[in-house]
Subunit: 518 residues, 2 copies
């Protein structure tokens, strides 16, 4: 896309048409400046087909806020909107509405509370809460969801892959399979959720990371087409990068050509006083080849050389590789744990596209509107009971048990304080029969999860560094029950309503049904 | 992302680190300006799990070329690369290499041939062919694949959804579930492949389309929270948009509230001389509700009102809806065909993320290098025979049979001309036993598929409008055998090598194996 076009396509018009037609209606009804609250949440963990996440890692907030601060309806946007016509040929948008967009619409007029990036999050709890003029909050919907859904999806996948790789070094390689420039958002989310580094040069620099990568098959092919050999290519590479020499060994034949040639070059490096970094395997049976490579490298005196694995890896493939190595390494005279500790995972396509579950169904729902001084809860009666969101202005708490493990996320009314309650009654959001009571003695900590981000027109939140987000993530994951962390068929984490919120939701569903005679 | 950061992240550093480390090696070996050829192709049709595409729609070229023309290694990029260090603390990139990047690297120095956007394409045929200095062509890899893989994936999904919706109006709604700003590339690809319009405001304007959309559930909720009703909301909407009135009817209860209220408002519009547009159904059993809605609208005298369907639609869901309506409409006294012809499909998440098959495995492989005046074919001997790409400089032809249907895509050496041959021998790319011979009389047309796009530093290609791309697409799809067009379990289209190319490939695999003693 051309630069000027890009500014249009990624600015205030980075939204869905219906946000504008609806808001014009609010404007003409005098409702556009009424204070509203929208909650952003997802209803289900990502479902990858054969397996399903037990928790998510929140991501995307900082770039959303940057977008909100930088975007306005300028002359270019207004000119395009003025050009839209109705079926009868007249302009779709009125001049009055367009001048309100231009003059009064600033996303910084919205208050935003959110759960920080890197935190463990669960379904049906507000991850971002927007309060402010109805018309402005409405127009924000599409961009807010775009900025939050995908990063949370990828951060979650990255966390799962990291879990299954048992915390070994993990590299994000997926730019070529990403949705265009969205690959940058994907790389950032991967770095928050579980990847240590990315191959993406630009975004790595901007986020303060060294981009990672060595060479591809094409380098070997170029040398061969140039009348030289794989060994010549390895040797040239080692000459240029003697202390950073990691060689891709599967261009011709991994066991009969690639690894022997790599070892020969490593020996030459060693003689000159350099320490080779390792090899990369990108095809074939990676568990079997890892074992064989480790054996050959050990015999040649390179027991510390890394073995980087790549080729459509994800949490299940890695899990299988780890399991197979644990079962078989000893048969080849190797210590499985030692081998596993030298593995590095390069993860591309299946991370950046969240293979198996390629979208997070995050939504942004109107939950309350202020009438006079009072919040009026808004509710949608859907055919599916679990799709009915919790109404009104709420607080979100995380309850830790005596082991220090998170045992439930609890939604309460704004004026409720679980710390002041003798015991906690946790109601299932829509199944009347399911409830749980926690005595004070069973609880070690109660934590508020939402933080103020934009308040009264100003950013009041300091974004943590990605390093900090990772610390937050690791601490949160460590406080999950192992059953929740399980890659396959995890336990279901409790997300509960307080008794008062539960009663309010029931009351509202009934009253809306009565008033609308349904 | 902030504006200055964005320029960095989407410019010349929108690539993988290994492209730079490899190219530095070429530079120091004096190979970086040697002329090379890379082919971009995909190996397999998208596989959606239970079903698999039988053809793809090519997309992404225009934005790739815009990127290639706009991008350089400027001072900012060079400064970031200078800051990269080796394990020994010294700079990773040499000053000589960095000044070559800055001074001599222009992607317009590459010749680019490509298949136009909108055309039907198949696996293992070059969709883009890049010739030029090895170092420059190498660095292009990541961005080229990023710009072409995702759009082709989405255009293909859009074509499938359009097929299963039998060409009814189809709207792209997926921005909120896209990979960040990559949603714009997705919307464009959807418009090329099968969507008629998009809800995405900015990109629609830039591409010359009216963005589409009416209102969401939140509008009804806002009115209710404001002390009014669904009927009040519909009436207010109809007052503001009397000739563009399309109402979402499932906020409370589709059959008992939404549709009756919509009909009441439509009757009021009719009295004032306006024609209502229709309704939208976004939940529940869409086939059953379509039938009921059609019945109610017909009885009220609105047989032409559109029924827009949305909610996780894709080609299979639409196919089921169409089938169910065909089977059941008559039981309710409706003509199935008449009902199907008033349906409109709003497709979001599952289109923009290519649900079920969320990536296209497009690759970009070195196939030849010029040594002196001669092209030396490059080849990678992989463990998997079908992964071995066809070597060298090739022509790609499409062969049409006597019915005018495309019967094979044929790769030949550059100097071969199938038009001059008495009969065509079509060899399977890797199975020796499979071959097919076409007599001249069996062939109605032979067409060259690749067109010059950038040549000798200049763009020599005029990009077609999206309208034109759609004409190209429709013509190509019409010339496919119905078995190839089938949504489930399609026939396999023939992609073949000429006898001479087949022989060359065999020869090369053997000679590389011998030289490398494998």
């Amino acid at each position: 896309m051309k630069e000027k076009d890009r500014r249009i396509a990624e600015g205030a018009l980075f939204t869905d048409q219906y946000q504008l037609t609806m808001t014009q209606l609010y404007f003409h009804m005098g409702m556009h400046e009424k204070e509203a609250q929208f909650d952003q949440f997802f209803r289900y963990y990502p479902d990858y087909g054969l397996h399903k996440a037990g928790f998510c890692i929140n991501a995307g907030l900082e770039w959303l806020v940057n977008w909100m601060e930088g975007v306005h309806f300028n002359d270019d946007e207004i000119a395009l909107l003025s050009s839209q016509t109705r079926r009868n040929g007249k302009p779709l948008f009125s001049d009055e509405f367009l001048s309100w967009l231009k003059k009064d619409l600033s996303f910084q007029r919205l208050n935003l509370r959110s759960i920080p990036e890197g935190r463990v999050v669960h379904p049906n709890t507000p991850l971002a809460v927007v309060q402010g003029p109805l018309g402005i909050a409405q127009i924000l919907e599409t961009s807010l969801l775009n900025h939050l859904n995908y990063p949370t999806l990828v951060a979650t996948k990255a966390a799962r892959i990291r879990e299954s790789g048992r915390g070994q070094l993990m590299l994000e390689f997926g730019l070529r399979r990403a949705h265009g420039v969205g690959g940058n958002a994907g790389a950032r989310a991967a770095l928050i959720g579980g990847a240590d580094f990315s191959s993406n040069v630009g975004i790595s620099h901007l986020l303060g990371f060294s981009p990672k990568g060595t060479h591809a098959h094409s380098m070997i092919q170029a040398f061969i087409a140039n009348g030289q050999s794989e060994l010549d290519a390895f040797r040239a590479y080692a000459d240029l990068y003697p202390d950073d020499c990691l060689l891709l060994v599967d261009t011709l034949d991994t066991l009969n050509s690639g690894i022997p040639n790599a070892i020969q070059v490593f020996e030459e490096l060693r003689k000159k006083g350099h320490k080779p970094v390792g090899i990369r395997l990108d095809s074939g049976d990676l568990a079997y080849l890892s074992i064989q490579a480790a054996k050959m490298l050990n015999q040649a005196g390179f027991p510390e050389a890394s073995i980087v694995l790549s080729n459509n890896l994800d949490e299940l493939v890695i899990w299988q590789i780890v399991t197979q190595i644990q079962q078989e390494a000893s048969r080849y005279g190797l210590d499985a744990e030692q081998l596993l500790s030298r593995l590095v995972y390069g993860v591309g396509t299946r991370l950046i596209t969240s293979h198996g579950g390629s979208s997070l169904g995050g939504v942004y729902k109107l939950v309350a509107l202020k009438d006079g001084g009072d919040w009026q809860p808004a509710i949608k009666i859907s055919e599916v009971p679990e799709k009915t969101p919790s109404p009104g202005y709420k607080q979100l708490w995380r309850i830790y048990d005596q082991r220090g493990k998170a045992t439930a996320d609890l939604l309460t009314l704004e004026d409720e304080d679980p710390d002041q309650m003798d015991k906690l009654v946790l109601r299932h959001p829509n199944e009347r029969a399911k409830r749980r009571t926690l005595a004070k003695a069973e609880i070690s900590e109660i934590e508020l999860l939402l933080e103020d981000v934009i308040k009264d027109g100003r950013r009041v939140y300091e974004f943590p560094s990605i390093e900090n987000m990772r610390n937050i993530r690791d601490a949160d994951i460590a406080r999950l029950d192992p059953g929740i962390r399980r890659i396959m068929n995890p336990h279901i984490y409790h997300v509960s309503l307080s008794q008062r919120l539960f009663d309010l939701k029931e009351e509202l569903i009934n009253s809306v049904k009565n008033e609308n005679r349904i």
